[in-house]
Assembly symmetry: C2
Homo-oligomer: 235 residues x 2
């Protein structure tokens, strides 16, 4: 395994911002190392599904390149994207028996697939890993609470500001304050409970206010991080 890959994996486990929980102590390299030997590579075309809501969760995945989304659909087509995954993130890890969301690729994506039962044996051997998974699950629950506040009570500009800062925090390795947005405006809308048009207009508005700069449709730069953070109610 390459050095870069190992770094990638560490980041995977720690990539979501720790909200109330501080970063847990490093899980032993040896334990995670075991995983690598046993994973198989999966390539996904744009919009292809990795698994569907309701599928048996015998496997979980690590995103190596590209981006993915986790989403729920209503019969009439209304959609909500629970979460986006960036390279290094694990997908379908916090699941018991069946997946409760559909996972799809945003653009081309490559992943590594792992057998769930291997994780189970690892957890059985290492209570520390078990505790770590629990901590992750709790941190995500906390995240979910904040997201619900956002969806239930925030305005479009607040939602966008929030989203942009979250994306910025997650793609930290990118140079400067440039945020890549691999997903479409429609995806962003479905994540924030808005429409494509409202996302567009609101981004335009943030731009005209001087908070951000739109470098291209899928790349923007934060000009006034503190003002954006205030708008997003960070802190």
């Amino acid at each position: 395994m390459l050095r870069a890959e190992r770094r990638d994996m560490e980041r995977g486990f720690a990539s979501l911002p720790a909200v109330t929980a501080p970063a847990p102590p490093q899980v032993e390299q040896s334990e995670l190392g075991l995983l690598d030997a046993l994973g198989t590579v999966v390539l996904l075309k744009r919009d292809a599904a990795l698994f569907q809501e309701g599928d048996a969760a015998d496997c979980y995945y690590k995103l190596v390149s590209g981006a993915a989304r986790y989403c729920k659909l209503l019969a009439d087509g209304r959609r909500h994207i629970t979460e986006f995954f960036l390279s290094g993130d694990f997908i379908g890890l916090h699941v018991l028996d069946a997946h409760w969301c559909t996972a799809e690729a945003v653009g081309e994506a490559t992943l590594v697939r792992y057998e769930r039962r291997i994780l189970d044996t690892l957890v059985a051997r290492s209570p520390r890993l078990g505790k770590y998974l629990l901590a992750r699950a709790y941190a995500e629950a906390s995240e979910a609470c904040s997201r619900m506040l956002l969806l239930g009570r925030m305005t479009a500009p607040e939602r966008l500001a929030n989203f942009l800062l979250r994306m910025a925090a997650r793609s930290g390795q990118v140079k400067g304050d440039i945020i890549p947005l691999p997903m479409t405006r429609g995806d962003i809308g479905d994540h924030l409970g808005l429409t494509t048009e409202t996302v567009c207009r609101t981004l335009a508005q943030l731009k005209s206010t001087g908070l951000i700069e739109l470098r291209s449709a899928h790349e923007l730069r934060v000009l006034q991080p503190q003002a954006l953070a205030k708008l997003a109610h960070f802190g």
Copy 2:
């Protein structure tokens, strides 16, 4: 411990509807029994806080009577109620270091307080309990996903229908199809991302459509469960 109380406690661990995860095997009575000996009773007046967002989570609680809410506030007063707790539910269990929501009483409430470190030692002794907690955490994550879909994409009548059915499922021991609603309309609104007025009007609308009957402000009866379920996109 009284028979009724023991039943209560079991229900507590299993009270949230299992969404993807089936009800786990009963946790040993002996393990949970230990808790009772060590809890202390807490009485809460209406709207009194049990703990605040950010407080250290050295204790967790079981609601014995009354109802409680879990909420997050924005600086300007906007509020979202993540979840309501009914008697038998545990509060502040799935937390690592600090509470990420404020817990308050809805009306008068009585609870039992437990030391967290006791739980930790129990978990250490029983991997089964640990696995059980993890399963609960995952089930709640799944719940949260559905809730986000609701907040982001559903109309007011759909949200209300959803809420009513969830409440009905949770207060299962009540006779017939009568649903008690201990919280105010404002609370319901803050839970569903609506205002007091919209909650009122929408309930009135559901009533005029013949789906429900308003017995009093805090008690209603479902007249057409299947129609309500369809509206709520259950299934």
